[in-house]
């Protein structure tokens, strides 16, 4: 390290590290694509309906274990429902909530940031105060307080997920828009009489999009963690719908006798958030190395 500093050589990545990293990113991307594919095609590729019960074949172990059955590759749960099918549908719902949440959050947060940068003054002050307020509070606690509201309403739940981390987008969007306003291209667009909305959507957004995109890739795994955690606690997605968190939550009751009920969905969550983090770090290094 000392040599690196004194000799003025800042080696960011050594060749062999880079190759190893490339492989890791490749595997992560492959896993996420597979999850997306499963999510999109769950109703087509799932061997059973995820609610179909078979009370005679309860708590079957996976096919490769003693007593397993090829017709239920990952076994069945306490109500004889096929674990593989439930896993597919859970991946579908967990991904859907996380993707929608990320998109909603990016749109709302960035808009708030742009509005603050455009109007300045009181609006800006209020927005920044709300940003500080949000940043100084654990979102989990707020979400828990709001969630008593839910009554099995998945749209409201997605709404709560969609507000997670808005303050980061608002902060970035505001800062970027403020510096963009000083740039030649914005001033030029203004002199041609472009409306503010046109300037923000057509001129500023494409130029600051990278940072917001990077923030989205970093926010996505956090959203999956929040959703699955809440569902695990029984405060998120409600039955009969099922998310990966629900699967772990229900599997926990049978942890002594049927560990696979817990391990399979738990590892799916872990590998998905891990892949997304790896991919997010990689996107950040590629697109915007100044971000932390």
């Amino acid at each position: 390290m000392q040599d690196t500093i004194t000799k003025n050589k800042r080696i960011t990545t050594s060749p062999e590290g880079y190759r190893g990293k490339g492989l890791l990113v490749g595997i992560a991307a492959f896993w996420l694509l597979a999850m997306l594919f499963i999510g999109f095609t769950a109703p087509l590729i799932a061997p059973y309906d995820f609610q179909e019960m078979d009370l005679i074949a309860r708590l079957l172990p996976p096919a490769w274990m003693d007593g397993g059955n090829v017709s239920h590759i990952f076994g069945t749960d306490a109500m004889g429902r096929d674990n593989l099918s439930r896993l597919f549908y859970s991946i579908r719902l967990s991904l859907l909530v996380a993707i929608l949440g990320t998109l909603i959050c990016a749109v709302i947060g960035s808009t708030i940031g742009f509005v603050a940068a455009h109007f300045r003054g009181v609006v800006d002050e209020t927005v920044m105060m709300l940003v500080d307020f949000q940043a100084s509070l654990p979102y989990m606690i707020l979400a828990l307080a709001v969630i008593a509201f839910f009554e099995n309403n998945i749209f409201l739940f997605i709404g709560v997920m969609g507000m997670y981390g808005w303050e980061m987008y608002a902060r970035f969007a505001r800062g970027l828009a403020l510096s963009a306003q000083e740039q030649g291209y914005v001033i030029a667009a203004k002199t041609f009489g472009a409306s503010p909305i046109r300037i923000y959507l057509r001129h500023i957004l494409p130029n600051v999009g990278n940072t917001l995109l990077v923030n989205m890739t970093l926010n996505f795994p956090k959203l999956i963690m929040l959703e699955t955690s809440l569902s695990f606690l029984g405060l998120g997605i409600q039955p009969p719908n099922t998310s990966l968190g629900n699967l772990v939550g229900f599997g926990r009751d049978h942890i002594l006798t049927a560990w696979w009920l817990v391990i399979i969905p738990a590892m799916t969550i872990f590998l998905t958030t891990l892949s997304m983090s790896i991919l997010g770090d990689w996107t950040r290094d590629k697109l915007d190395p100044t971000l932390k």
């Binding site: 100084s136 606690i141 828990l144 307080a145 509201f149 695990f232 926990r252 891990l274 770090d281």
Partner: protein
């Protein structure tokens, strides 16, 4: 650090606490009635009516809020609907368990996280750095409940070494503390590393070495104080969360602490208890932020001058 600056900070802190309490109050009152969860679905209309009258549920939200503030200013934060005792007592009775669990975890998280982060940054781009970072990515990508369950499977069920639930003896501490430490140290290691890398490549480090300081002196006097600021910020955030930071860990390990009480009270709509917990959390959060602000001034004297002039 002048008094006007401190007063403004204090006012802002009080405003935050008030905003949070009000927000949570309104959300909880809008979210529905605790009657069903307390009395059951088959309660007689008379019982429901009596329950409503007792807890003032028929008043408008505005009236309820006015009563709440009036009582709160007299130090009365209401009774726990489920336990019948004062809500403050219900929370305080769990506080000790949470504080011991979090105290041990915090000490471990800070030391392990920061030292691994320092090692990774001082050996940037070597195999040590990469190894630490691989563990760090894996650590902060794993949701608490996933890691907790894997640990229970391994240590309680497969090996039978440690108890998985409860809080009777020192052995009960091991799994929850391990869960929190693994995940949160990863966050701190990553953060410390990037804060250190930020300063290690600054020109002043080169200057320090050029004027003849040893590597150790340069790191200790020039790199560490500058890298400390962002690290202290997230440490403050962590300490602010100390009361309800272990919601999931406590729930999984059936730890009789404040976090588990929070989940239980939210599920059963025990308004007053949720309210007291949120109030405690926002107060500790605000106090922690305030302390961090004071620490900034001590770590970097420029900050307090800039802020008090602004």
């Amino acid at each position: 650090m002048n008094s006007a600056y401190i007063i403004r900070k204090l006012l802002r802190a009080m405003l935050t606490v008030w905003l949070v309490t009000t927000f949570v109050f309104i959300i909880l009152r809008l979210s529905g009635d605790p009657t069903v969860s307390v009395l059951g679905v088959e309660a007689s209309p008379e019982a429901v009516e009596a329950f409503h009258a007792k807890w003032g549920l028929d008043d408008s939200v505005g009236v309820q809020y006015a009563n709440f503030i009036k009582n709160a200013l007299h130090g009365d934060l209401g009774l726990s609907i489920l336990e019948g005792t004062s809500a403050v007592t219900s929370v305080v009775s769990r506080l000790f368990n949470t504080l011991t669990l979090m105290g041990i975890s915090t000490a471990l998280v800070f030391t392990i996280g920061v030292s691994f982060g320092l090692v990774a940054s001082l050996f940037h781009n070597t195999s040590k750095d990469r190894l630490i970072m691989i563990f760090a990515v894996a650590g902060y990508s794993s949701p608490t409940f996933v890691l907790a369950i894997l640990l229970i499977l391994l240590f309680s069920i497969q090996l039978g070494w440690l108890p998985s639930t409860g809080s009777g003896s020192w052995a009960h501490y091991i799994l929850p503390v391990m869960t929190m430490t693994i995940i949160e140290s990863a966050v701190f290691a990553r953060f410390t590393r990037s804060a250190m890398l930020e300063v290690l490549y600054q020109p002043y480090m080169k200057t320090a070495l050029a004027k003849g300081l040893s590597w150790k002196q340069a790191v200790r006097r020039h790199a560490l104080p500058n890298a400390a600021i962002p690290v202290v910020t997230i440490m403050g955030f962590w300490v602010g969360l100390i009361i309800a930071g272990a919601v999931i860990t406590e729930t999984i390990f059936s730890w009789p602490g404040v976090g588990r009480l929070l989940i239980y009270s939210v599920k059963h709509r025990d308004y007053n208890v949720v309210q007291v917990i949120v109030l405690c959390v926002s107060c500790t959060m605000v106090i922690a932020n305030f302390t961090v602000d004071l620490l900034y001034g001590w770590l970097d004297p420029r900050i307090s001058i800039e802020k008090s002039e602004a």
